[in-house]
């Protein structure tokens, strides 16, 4: 556990970067520091590994005050990832990853062997091992950066906007991989971002900081969306908070209706008889995975790929109410397509049923404010 106790950082010119920060980052969880630029989030992160010394207050790691600890030794026990990976341009991918183990005295062959394993674990081809960072794509560099931080298996990871330099699609992929990896590794992570969506997606708890370096709210993401502590937090969270909050509500309680389907390539007469007058008919492939909707009345001789309407999103039955509602709202038939984890069709849900499930869950879950002062700093 990392604990900030009344930490303050002022610079000689009088700028207050962090002001009276008290915060705990629990062991094995992701704590996200989020806020606009100038809120002291990066300064706070860098105080954990003594890149910046606090002006007053104390920071402890597992109960030990870090002010008395050797900076280099402390840092070797904390993985550090920054934007674009901060890779050493003059070292190969493999040697970049092996940096900290080598510093810690691990024999070279052993360090390289485990670096190779990490490379695979990060979903990177081992053929990249001998390349230099400038020969990698942005996403690959970022993965190598994470691998390098993990190489010495440190219990703590500090991550400073690690995914913000890549395009949105790759970012989402990296975020998903990061969550999967954290599910396996259970590191204590402090993660800095300016992107509230990223904070809400990744954080077990989210600390919203305001300019001047004060803590505006510390809460779980669902709590944050449901009950912002003040106008600043509410503004920072932005629009659609209710809808985004549904991402944390499990979708299991929605009744799933069976949906008549035909396989791609079926004759249009057969398709029309299955549809029995409905305006839209769901098409699946041979494996039973939904591929799209068609209008039976407008078919040619057979159901072709070109007939498919692809507007509808597909939700997993094990996913969230948000995904289920979006599937229902985006489908031309207004029936949301649900699949199992392997992508095979289970059935469909209506927006009405999803809303009923939301209302049913509202009383018990975090969806409604239980009390007016249930949040904020401890």
């Amino acid at each position: 556990m990392i604990r900030f106790s009344d930490v303050r950082k002022t610079y000689p010119d009088g700028t207050v970067a962090v002001d009276g920060l008290t915060l705990e980052a629990p062991t094995g969880q992701i704590t996200v520091l989020v806020g606009p630029s100038g809120c002291g989030k990066t300064t706070s992160l860098r105080m954990i590994n003594k890149m910046i010394e606090p002006t007053s207050g104390s920071i402890t790691v597992d109960g030990r005050d870090i002010s008395g600890m050797n900076a280099d030794e402390l840092r070797r026990g904390m993985g550090y990832v920054i934007q674009s990976g901060g890779l050493f341009p003059h070292r190969t991918v493999l040697d970049n990853i092996a940096t900290v183990p080598l510093l810690l005295g691990v024999p070279k062959t052993q360090a390289r062997a485990s670096a190779m394993e990490l490379l695979e674990r990060m979903g990177l081809s081992t053929s990249l091992a001998k390349r230099y960072p400038n020969q990698l794509s942005g996403g690959q560099q970022q993965r190598v950066g994470v691998a390098r931080a993990l190489a010495a298996d440190p219990p703590i990871m500090l991550m400073d906007e690690p995914f913000s330099a890549v395009d949105p699609q790759v970012r989402e992929q990296l975020q998903d991989e990061f969550l999967r990896l954290q599910g396996e590794l259970g590191k204590t992570i402090v993660f800095v971002t300016h992107d509230i969506d990223e904070a809400v997606k990744l954080g077990d708890q989210v600390a919203v900081l305001r300019v001047g370096g004060t803590l505006a709210q510390l809460a779980s993401p669902e709590r944050l969306l449901a009950d912002p502590a003040d106008d600043f937090v509410a503004d920072f969270l932005g629009r659609d908070r209710g809808y985004r909050g549904l991402a944390f509500a499990p979708g299991g309680s929605v009744p799933i209706g069976t949906e008549p389907t035909v396989v791609l390539g079926t004759s249009s007469d057969a398709a029309r008889s299955v549809a029995s007058g409905a305006a839209w008919l769901l098409i699946v492939d041979e494996a039973g995975a939904p591929v799209g909707w068609v209008e039976p009345a407008r078919l040619g001789a057979r159901v072709e790929r070109s007939d498919l309407h692809r507007g509808g999103t597909v939700a997993r039955a094990s996913g969230s109410l948000r995904a289920a509602l979006d599937a229902a709202l985006s489908a031309p038939s207004r029936r949301g397509v649900l699949t199992d984890d392997a992508g095979r069709l289970i059935g469909t849900v209506s927006a009405h049923d999803v809303l009923a499930a939301i209302e049913g869950a509202g009383g018990s879950a975090d969806g409604t404010p239980a009390s007016s002062n249930g949040d904020g700093a401890p």
Binding site: A71, E73, R75, Y80, I82, H90, V100, R131, Y132, Q135
Partner: protein, 214 residues
């Protein structure tokens, strides 16, 4: 041409001395410029005084410095060490700025990542910052090498034998051949040194070769 062939051994000997007098200061000067350049980047307050002082050093005319050196060092006027020390000063003057600029060219993110991984300042300098500064330092070194080859020849005026002696000889005898041979030999030497530095820099910066990914 016949003069050159007749004096092959003599010209060869002068070329070797010339190369020696140009290269030794280059190596020593680089060794001195690296710590000075590091100081200039590590302590920003030192940057301006150090760069200004080294710049002024380079403006001292070489002939004056050659004449001054025996007095300062207390050596005999024909001692080649005078030339070596003087040229070392010029090399340092040229390279302090280059080294400082090379070290500043290291991306801040890389420096910070190194620090955050627990690489202490000395190790960071040797294993991260200096290697990354090589391309810039090599560019400065090429200028210094050519400049040394040219300045060494001036030492003929104070009686230190090297390719420059061919100029004084040719001038004294109003005879063009040794002058032309001397010029060509200087150019060849400068080219060889230049190519050697380029090859060396290329050998120690393998990461700058090969294609980039999109």
């Amino acid at each position: 041409m016949t003069w050159f062939l007749d004096h092959l051994a003599q010209v060869g000997g002068l070329l070797v001395t010339h190369a020696y007098l140009a290269v030794v200061p280059l190596v020593v000067g680089l060794a001195l410029a690296v710590p000075l350049g590091w100081l200039a980047t590590r302590f920003p307050r030192l940057y301006t005084p150090l760069i200004t002082a080294s710049g002024l050093l380079y403006t001292i005319p070489s002939l004056a410095l050659f004449v001054l050196m025996p007095l300062v060092l207390g050596l005999g006027i024909l001692n080649p060490l005078n030339v070596i020390v003087a040229l070392t000063l010029y090399t340092v003057a040229l390279l302090v700025r280059t080294v400082a600029d090379g070290l500043s060219s290291v991306p801040e993110q890389v420096r910070q990542a190194a620090t955050a991984m627990g690489i202490g300042p000395v190790r960071r300098f040797v294993t991260v910052e200096l290697p990354l500064a090589v391309p810039v330092i090599a560019a400065g070194l090429r200028v210094a090498a050519v400049s040394n080859v040219s300045i060494v020849s001036v030492a003929a005026l104070i009686g230190i034998a090297q390719l420059g002696s061919l100029f004084t000889d040719g001038f004294a005898r109003d005879f063009l051949d040794p002058i032309v041979v001397g010029i060509v030999a200087c150019i060849v030497l400068a080219l060889i040194l230049d190519l050697a530095i380029v090859a060396l820099a290329r050998a120690v910066t393998p990461w700058l070769r090969g294609g980039r990914a999109g």
